[in-house]
Symmetry: C2
Subunit: 218 residues, 2 copies
């Protein structure tokens, strides 16, 4: 049994990740970030899941850093690009240094509650556009983490070599209910089905020959 | 001319650092953090200096992360330890993962304003008690920074092999006015002269055979 802080956004990857940790009978504490993103619905869905599963969740309001994060469609008034996630246009969704910021705060939290590891949900589908989801970044930040404090906190991304479809497959094997997740970058009542994030989600369900249980506006 | 984001606390090390960058005719933008520390006076002194020197300063309020940072005398109701900075008791002043958090945010800011480097004021006196002020940490976080984003932001700590006395010596050579700095961990009108931070400051002035221009309550 390991004590793990899971960076949990409410999306399907980190939902599968937190459930994997529970499935393997680790002790889990979740951390979510409010960084001024448009899609706050993922935060409320994260809260609901943790509440009903008696998992401690820290929602850290770092929206005060919003002025630092210029030029991202996720936080600014730039239109969310439509199309496939791996397209060059999706680079507009990159929040500068996002994973390094979130992992740094998760490490601080792990230390303060005497936990041993930090997990985050990077996967191969992210590699194309997010440098901070690549294995070489993970290896480096894990090394930095161990040097940064007296407590040696291990940073892991158990899905880093899996596709989103493979992650979903793992989750379906665990009988997870994906209606408890939120993926769309637009923060509306129903998922748009058009943004890169929705397109990628729908592809993952299609690969697994399964119907996505959430409702789409298309 | 390099464009540098300087992590600037208002203390004498980062004051010397920002002035070194200006002296070498670099373009400077300063970043300070309000993380719920008791000694807020260093923030107001940082604001005054930047204002009078026409330097852009971002004061980032990350006090919302305070609940994550348990067990530190700088943010909690633990008494600030008296005595020498290198003593074991001074470990109580360690905020978990502080430099990794601040540097991560400074990197994000550098990217958003199209700057090239992040400087912070670690020095040899810090090595004994702060793992995140050691050269191996610097090397690792610099590597992580370069892997984390499309923009390769260099992280530097120009004073990492200098003592506080040697940093002060550099500053005195540049004719800097150290009445524009604040060091004491207690946030009172006059510096206490007793906390580890004050003791170390007074030693640095003594080593340079110079009188500290600030007022002490002892």
């Amino acid at each position: 049994m390991t004590k793990i802080v899971v960076v949990y956004s409410g999306g399907m990857d980190s939902f599968t990740l937190i459930n994997l940790a529970l499935y393997d009978e680790h002790k889990v504490s979740a951390i979510s970030f409010d960084y001024g993103q448009k899609h706050k619905k993922e935060l409320s869905i994260a809260r609901d899941f943790c509440k009903s599963n008696l998992i401690n969740l820290e929602v850290v309001d770092i929206s005060a850093i919003k002025p630092l994060l210029k030029g991202s469609a996720l936080t600014d008034e730039i239109e969310i690009p439509k199309g496939h996630y791996e397209d060059q246009t999706m680079k507009a969704t990159v929040v500068p240094n996002r994973n390094m910021i979130m992992i740094s705060l998760a490490i601080a939290h792990a230390i303060s509650i005497d936990f041993e590891e930090v997990w985050y949900g990077a996967h191969t589908g992210d590699h194309a556009i997010y440098p901070d989801c690549r294995p070489e970044f993970l290896e480096s930040i894990n090394n930095t983490s161990k040097l940064a404090n007296y407590e040696s906190i291990e940073v892991k991304a158990p899905f880093i070599n899996l596709t989103k479809g493979q992650i979903l497959s793992k989750g379906l094997d665990m009988n997870l209910d994906y209606s408890q997740t939120w993926t769309c970058y637009e923060g509306k009542e129903q998922a748009c089905g058009k943004c890169g994030s929705c397109v990628e989600r729908l592809e993952a369900f299609s690969e697994n020959n399964t119907r996505d249980p959430i409702q789409y506006s298309i």
